[in-house]
């Protein structure tokens, strides 16, 4: 959910893995399996940036259209769940 929320902050911008890790606070061993699963389900598109001289090209990530829709739905349902009272009153 944290990763999806991070992508939703600027959904049309390609992001680097390390930047996502810093902004979400997730360690690489947690973040990358999530990114892999998102890509596997067609929710995340990946791309290699063009090589610059002297440094290796980096991998970029952006939500797909399905990913964007899915993330918005997930965040809305999480928001609704958060705002619900913990116990429902039972009327006698």
């Amino acid at each position: 959910m944290t990763v999806l929320a991070d992508f939703l902050e600027d959904p049309h911008t390609w992001k680097y893995g390390y930047d996502i890790s810093r902004s979400t606070g997730l360690k690489s061993g947690t973040l990358y399996p999530i990114l892999m699963r998102l890509a596997e389900h067609g929710l995340l598109q990946t791309s290699w940036e063009l090589a610059e001289t002297g440094r290796p090209p980096r991998h970029l990530y952006k939500l797909t259209k399905n990913g964007l829709r899915y993330s918005q739905e997930q965040l809305i349902s999480a928001d609704v769940a958060m705002n619900q009272p913990p116990f429902r009153e039972v009327k006698a």
């Binding site: 690489s28 061993g29 947690t30 892999m36 596997e40 290796p56 090209p57 980096r58 991998h59």
Partner: protein
């Protein structure tokens, strides 16, 4: 601190070598990020995280016949990765216990070490026998589907039935003898030997539901493929 960063790069390169083709690009992506991590120790921790990629199980459940080649490839990648990782660790353990056999102080321990080495060699044999078959480049969809079905069947059998139980059974006597031998030779280490034996039994017990659930998952995939 240069050595820490070099160690981080070495870890990532090893992960790239050991990763299956479908996960390799992710390990390469992590290596490409390494230069952007400013702190050396943070870079080292970043690289350590990449080891988890090796254990991410990628699966494709084919929704139609057109998905079968991709699903077969992912399955073959996973089987190949298991063969690679398993062979490295089992060979390492066989060498370790083989060396220990030469320095064992009593017969119990010698027999224990020898049985463990035999068990490791048997596991190595199973790993090689369980590696995926090559799909001929000219194979049509029917042939690929048949091969995918047979590979799913082999995977189901690898995690259940004779293959699994023989793997488990052959590991038991060696470790038990080794710990018993340790208790007899060095009575002062009885407590640690009991803990070691208990840990081994717990891990062995945990491997039963884990393997059987994998076998059930493959059986389900086979069943779905038949529909």
């Amino acid at each position: 601190m240069k050595i820490v960063r070099q160690a981080a790069a070495s870890i990532l390169r090893t992960v790239i070598r050991l990763a299956s083709p479908s996960t390799q690009s992710w390990a390469k992506a992590m290596l490409a990020e390494l230069d952007s991590v400013g702190n050396d120790w943070a870079a080292f921790l970043w690289a350590l995280g990449s080891v988890r990629i090796l254990f991410v199980r990628q699966t494709i459940h084919p929704m139609g016949l057109s998905d079968i080649p991709a699903a077969a490839k992912v399955l073959a990648d996973r089987m190949n990765q298991r063969t690679r990782l398993g062979s490295v660790s089992v060979s390492g353990m066989a060498l370790f216990f083989g060396r220990a056999f030469l320095h064992a102080s009593d017969t119990f321990q010698q027999v224990g070490y020898a049985l463990i080495v035999a068990a490791m060699l048997y596991m190595l044999f199973q790993l090689f026998a369980g590696r995926p078959r090559r799909i001929p480049a000219i194979a049509d969809l029917n042939a690929r589907t048949a091969l995918y079905r047979s590979e799913l069947g082999r995977e189901r059998d690898f995690h259940s039935g004779y293959w699994f139980w023989s793997r488990l059974a052959i590991m038991m006597p060696g470790f038990i003898l080794l710990c018993v031998g340790g208790m007899i030779t060095h009575p002062s280490t009885t407590h640690s030997q009991i803990i070691l034996l208990a840990l081994f039994l717990v891990f062995s017990a945990l491997s039963i539901p884990n393997n059987l659930s994998r076998a059930r998952s493959y059986a389900r995939q086979l069943h779905d493929l038949g529909l």
